[in-house]
C-alpha cells in the first residue's frame, strides 16, 4: 500500500489519516506518499473520500488521527494559511476569483505586501513575469477576470498558488469546465510544472485524464485507499474495477435506432437569460420517436437555457416549440407534463429534488396532482409511499427507505430518484440534462441503460451533457452548441477531435 510514487524522495506523505463525520467513516487509515516532482492522480467515485482527504491536507478539516509529513517533516495544518505556509496550493473546481478584478489584483489578493499597494503591485508584476517565463503560463496581467475564457481563469488560479510559493499543487476536477483543447493545454502546463520540480496531485473521475498525464495513481473506494499503481503499469479497465469494486461496462451496448415520427420540434428558438443576454440564438431541430439526440457543448453555451425553455421553465423570446406538431405556446411545466414531456433536470439539488423532503415526497414532485396520489385536494400518503417503494425497488435506490431524508442519499441514488420518477410516468418525450453529473460509475451504467430503454420503447429523448463520452455513446445524432447556436450536426461515430473543434467554435 505504501508504494513510493517515484524514485525521488516523497514531497508529501500521509500516514494513517482517519476521519469520521458522525457515523460516516470518510477516511479510513489512509496512507499515501507522493514523490517529489511527479504528477499523482487520485480517483474514486463520488463519496469515496477524495475531497475529505484533500480538505484535510488543505486545513479545512482536521484528521481525527494520523500524520501529514511534508518534505519529510511532520506538520500540523490548522487552516488554509498553514497549508499555504507549508507550500501547498489548491486549485478548486469552482474558481475562487474576484470577477471584476484584473489578473494581477487577483494574484495579489491576500498577499498585498503592506498598507500601500504601489510597491506590492510592482513586485507582483515582476514575479508574475518570472512565473510566466518559467512555466509557460501566459496570461495578460491587466485583463479583467470576467473577460477571460475559462481556461485562462484556471491558469490564474494556478498562478495564484505559485505566487504564494506552492511546491505542491492540488487540482480538484480541473477539466470539468474546459474544452478538450483547453484541457490539453492545461496538461502541457502541468507537465512543465512537474519538470520544474513541482509536485502535483490531480483529483478526477475521468480515467482518460489519469492515463494521459499522471505518473502514479491511487484509487479510493468507500473511504479507503484501495490501490496505488504506476500509471504505465495499469489499464483503464483495471482502474475502473478498482474504483467500483467489480467489473463495469464502460461502453453502453445499443442497437440501431429506429426513428419514428417527429415528436418534439424546435423552430427558430431564441432564449435570453436573466441579464438579457441571448443564450440560445435562433435554434431549430427535431427529435423523433425512438431516437436520442445529444447536445454537446462546453458548459455555458446555451444548452442549459435551451433545456429550461423546452421544459417550460424559461420563457423563450421568440420562436416556437411544437409537440406532436402542435405549438405549445407559453405552456408551463405542469401543462407540458400533461402532454407527455418528462424532464430530468441538470441540477438535481435545486430543481429535481427538494433535499429536505423525505424520499417519497420527492417521488411525486411535479406529478402530485395525479389522481393516483389522492382524490381532490387531499394527498393519499399510503398510495404515495407505496409507489415510492415500488420505484425504490425497481431502480435499486439505496438505502431502500422511502422515509429517509433525500439529502442523506448519495449523489447517484438521488439521481436515481429523479430518473425513476420521470421515467416511470411513461412519458412520450424525455429531456435529460447532465444525467450522470456527480454520479458514481455503477449508477452511470444503470442510468444510461434506462435512457437507452426509453429509446427502444419509441420515446423521443433529448440529451444535454458536457461529458463528450456520454454524448457519443448514447446519442444517435449529435448537435453541437457554441455561443447559443447549433454549429453543426454529426452522427454518433464522429471523432472526438472534430467534435472538440466544433465545441470550441472552430467550424469543422
Amino acid at each position: 500500500m505504501n508504494l513510493q510514487s517515484s524514485a525521488n524522495e516523497p514531497a508529501i506523505e500521509l500516514v494513517g489519516i482517519d476521519k469520521k463525520f458522525g457515523t460516516v467513516h470518510a477516511n479510513k487509515n489512509i496512507n499515501l506518499s507522493v514523490g517529489k516532482g511527479s504528477i499523482h492522480g487520485i480517483i474514486g467515485e463520488n463519496g469515496a473520500g477524495k475531497s475529505t482527504l484533500m480538505s484535510i491536507l488543505y486545513g479545512f478539516y482536521h484528521a481525527d488521527e494520523g500524520e501529514i509529513r511534508i518534505q519529510g517533516r511532520p506538520v500540523t495544518i490548522r487552516d488554509s494559511q498553514a497549508a499555504i505556509a507549508a507550500g501547498i496550493g489548491m486549485v478548486h473546481q469552482h474558481f475562487m476569483l474576484v470577477e471584476n478584478f484584473t489578473v494581477l489584483e487577483n494574484v495579489m489578493l491576500g498577499a498585498e505586501g503592506g498598507q500601500l499597494l504601489a510597491k506590492g503591485v510592482a513586485g507582483a508584476r515582476k514575479e508574475l513575469k518570472r512565473l510566466e517565463t518559467d512555466y509557460g503560463l501566459d496570461v495578460d496581467p491587466d485583463a479583467l477576470i470576467e473577460e477571460l475564457p475559462v481556461g485562462n481563469q484556471q491558469r490564474v488560479e494556478i498562478l495564484k498558488a505559485l505566487y504564494r510559493g506552492a511546491d505542491i499543487l492540488i487540482l480538484d476536477e480541473p477539466t470539468g469546465v474546459l474544452t478538450p483543447a483547453e484541457a490539453d493545454h492545461l496538461f502541457r502546463i502541468l507537465q512543465v510544472l512537474r519538470d520544474q520540480g513541482k509536485t502535483i496531485i490531480l483529483i478526477t473521475h475521468k480515467l482518460r485524464e489519469i492515463m494521459a498525464i499522471t505518473d502514479t495513481v491511487s484509487v479510493m473506494r468507500r473511504g479507503e485507499m484501495v490501490a496505488t499503481r504506476k500509471t504505465a503499469e495499469t489499464t483503464v479497465t483495471e482502474l475502473a474495477e478498482l474504483m467500483v469494486g467489480r467489473r463495469v461496462l464502460l461502453r453502453v451496448e445499443k442497437g440501431d435506432a429506429n426513428p419514428g415520427p417527429v415528436l418534439l420540434s424546435v423552430k427558430n428558438l431564441t432564449v435570453k437569460d436573466g441579464r438579457g443576454v441571448t443564450m440560445v440564438d435562433d435554434v431549430s431541430f427535431d427529435v423523433r420517436a425512438g431516437e436520442i439526440v445529444g447536445i454537446a457543448g462546453v458548459a455555458g453555451n446555451g444548452q442549459s437555457e435551451l433545456l429550461e425553455a423546452l421544459a417550460g421553465i424559461r420563457k423563450p423570446v421568440s420562436g416556437e416549440i411544437l409537440i406532436d406538431g402542435k405549438p405549445v405556446g407559453a405552456a408551463d411545466p405542469a401543462a407540458l407534463r400533461q402532454l407527455g414531456l418528462a424532464h430530468i433536470p441538470e441540477d438535481r439539488h435545486h430543481m429535481g429534488l427538494v433535499l429536505k423532503f423525505e424520499e417519497y415526497e420527492n417521488s411525486i414532485l411535479g406529478y402530485h396532482h395525479d389522481p393516483r396520489y389522492g382524490r381532490g385536494s387531499m394527498l393519499d400518503l399510503d398510495a404515495v409511499r407505496k409507489s415510492a417503494e415500488e420505484q425504490i425497488e425497481k431502480y435499486d435506490i439505496r438505502p431502500p427507505n422511502a422515509r429517509l431524508k433525500t439529502a442523506n442519499f448519495s449523489g447517484g441514488n438521488q439521481q436515481k430518484i429523479v430518473v425513476a420518477r420521470e421515467i416511470e410516468r411513461d412519458p412520450k418525450m424525455l429531456l435529460v440534462g447532465q444525467p450522470t453529473r456527480g454520479v458514481d460509475i455503477g449508477a452511470i451504467e444503470f442510468i444510461h441503460r434506462r435512457i437507452i430503454e426509453m429509446r427502444g420503447a419509441g420515446k423521443a429523448v433529448l440529451l444535454v451533457s458536457v461529458e463528450l463520452d456520454e454524448i457519443r455513446s448514447l446519442s444517435d445524432r449529435i448537435l453541437v452548441m457554441f455561443a447559443g447556436k447549433v454549429v453543426g450536426e454529426k452522427t454518433s461515430d464522429a471523432d472526438e477531435q472534430t467534435l472538440g473543434l466544433m465545441m470550441a467554435g472552430i467550424a469543422a
Binding site: M351, V354, K356, L365, G366, H368
Partner: protein, 367 residues
C-alpha cells in the same frame, strides 16, 4: 459542521433539547432576578403560582395561549410557504373588525352558537383581506413581504383607530370602542371545562375560541401535511427553484398561503373581542401577533409545538403579570426581558446544544 448531519431520535430533538433550552433560559432569567436583588426561586414560585396556581390563573394563562395559538398558526402557515409574515398583528387587528361587524349585526336576533360560525368567517375574511395586498405585491411585484406586512401593521392600526373614533364610537362616550355585544354576540366561557378538573374559572375570560383554536391546529396540520396545496406550499418554501420545475404556480401559492395566514391571524380577534371584552377596542391585539412569531419559531411551525409554545408564553404573560405585582422590583419590563431570554434560547439558539447532544448520544449508543 460534522455533527449537523447526524440524525437524532425525535424524543431528543423535540423533547430534551427544547427542555434544556428552556431550563437555560430560566437560569439566565434567575441571574437577572438575582442581580436586581430578589430571590430567583421565590420569583419562580410567584410566576408558576400566578400562572397555574388557581383556577382563574389557569384560565388567564389559557386565554392568552388561545390568542398565541391563532397567531402562531398564522406565522407557521406562511413560513411553510417560505413567507415571513410579520403582519399577523395587523391582520388580527383588522380581523377584529370582521368579528365585531358580525356580532353587532346578529347579537339582537340569534344565540351565540348561530353568531359564532359567521364571526369565524368574518374575522378570517377581514384578516385575509388585510394580508391580500402584501401577498399580491410579493407575488406580482416582488415587494418583500417582510417590509410590506410591517407597513400594513401601521396602516391597519391607523385605520382601526379612525374607524373606532369616527364610526363605531358610542355617541356620547369618550372611549374609542364599539357598544358592548349582547349575549348573542359573545363567546361563552369554558367554566364547565374547568369544572371537569375541579377548578373554578372565576373572572378569567377563557372561552370557546380555545376550542376553535384547537380545531384550527388540526386543520392546519391537515393542510400542510395531507393536502396537495400544503405539499406545494412546502415545496415552494424549501426550494423555489424546485417549485418552478414542478410547475407549482408561484403567484397562486403565495397568495393562498398568505390569505390562510391572514385568516388565522384574524381569528385571534374571536378570543379577545368576542370572548373577553365583548366589544371592539383600540389596540386589543396587544402584541399577540408578534408573540406568534416567537411561538411559531419555538414550536417548529408544527401545530403541536405551537400549542405547547403558546401555553408557555401564556404562562409567562399571566405569571409575569402576577410576579410584577408581588415583587414590585420586577417591573413589566423585566418580564419582557425574561420572555426575550426564552425566545433567545429556545428560538435563536435552537441548535446551540445540538452538537453536544449528538456526542452524548453517540457515546451512549456506542456508535
Amino acid at each position: 459542521m460534522s455533527t449537523a448531519s447526524v440524525p437524532l431520535p425525535a424524543w431528543i430533538n423535540y423533547g430534551v433539547i427544547p427542555l434544556l433550552n428552556l431550563i437555560l433560559a430560566f437560569l439566565f432569567s434567575g441571574l437577572v432576578v438575582w442581580a436586581i436583588g430578589e430571590n430567583p426561586l421565590e420569583a419562580l414560585n410567584f410566576l408558576i403560582q400566578g400562572a397555574l396556581g388557581r383556577g382563574d390563573a389557569i384560565g388567564f394563562t389559557l386565554f392568552y395561549a388561545t390568542s398565541f395559538i391563532f397567531t402562531g398558526l398564522s406565522v407557521a402557515v406562511a413560513f411553510h410557504a417560505g413567507l415571513f409574515n410579520i403582519g399577523s398583528e395587523g391582520q388580527a387587528y383588522v380581523g377584529g373588525l370582521g368579528a365585531a361587524l358580525v356580532a353587532l349585526s346578529l347579537d339582537h336576533y340569534v344565540p351565540w352558537y348561530v353568531t359564532m360560525p359567521f364571526a369565524v368567517v368574518g374575522a378570517a375574511l377581514f384578516g385575509a383581506a388585510w394580508a391580500f395586498i402584501p401577498a399580491w405585491l410579493q407575488a406580482k411585484r416582488g415587494s418583500h413581504i417582510v417590509i410590506t406586512t410591517i407597513m400594513f401593521n401601521f396602516i391597519g392600526a391607523a385605520l382601526m383607530v379612525y374607524l373606532l373614533v369616527n364610526v363605531f364610537i358610542v355617541p356620547g362616550k369618550m372611549a374609542p370602542e364599539t357598544r358592548t355585544f349582547l349575549a348573542g354576540g359573545q363567546l361563552p366561557k369554558l367554566d364547565w371545562l374547568m369544572a371537569l378538573f375541579g377548578l373554578k374559572l372565576g373572572p378569567a375570560p377563557f372561552n370557546v375560541s380555545f376550542i376553535i383554536a384547537l380545531v384550527m391546529c388540526y386543520l392546519v396540520w391537515l393542510l400542510i401535511w395531507r393536502t396537495k396545496l400544503g405539499y406545494e406550499m412546502r415545496t415552494l418554501g424549501i426550494s423555489p427553484t424546485a417549485a418552478v420545475y414542478a410547475g407549482i404556480p408561484y403567484v397562486r401559492t403565495v397568495i393562498i398561503a398568505m390569505l390562510i395566514s391572514g385568516g388565522l391571524a384574524g381569528m385571534m380577534s374571536l378570543n379577545a373581542v368576542m370572548g373577553a371584552s365583548a366589544r371592539l377596542q383600540v389596540e386589543f391585539v396587544a402584541g399577540a401577533g408578534f408573540v406568534g412569531i416567537a411561538v411559531s419559531l419555538m414550536g417548529r411551525s408544527h401545530p403541536v409545538g405551537i400549542v405547547l409554545a403558546a401555553i408557555l408564553f401564556g404562562i409567562l404573560y399571566q405569571g409575569g403579570a402576577d410576579l410584577s405585582f408581588e415583587m414590585p422590583n420586577i417591573t413589566r419590563d423585566m418580564i419582557v426581558v425574561i420572555q426575550g431570554l426564552v425566545i433567545f434560547f429556545a428560538g435563536a439558539l435552537e441548535y446551540m446544544l445540538r452538537p453536544a447532544m449528538v456526542r452524548l448520544y453517540q457515546t451512549a449508543t456506542g456508535k
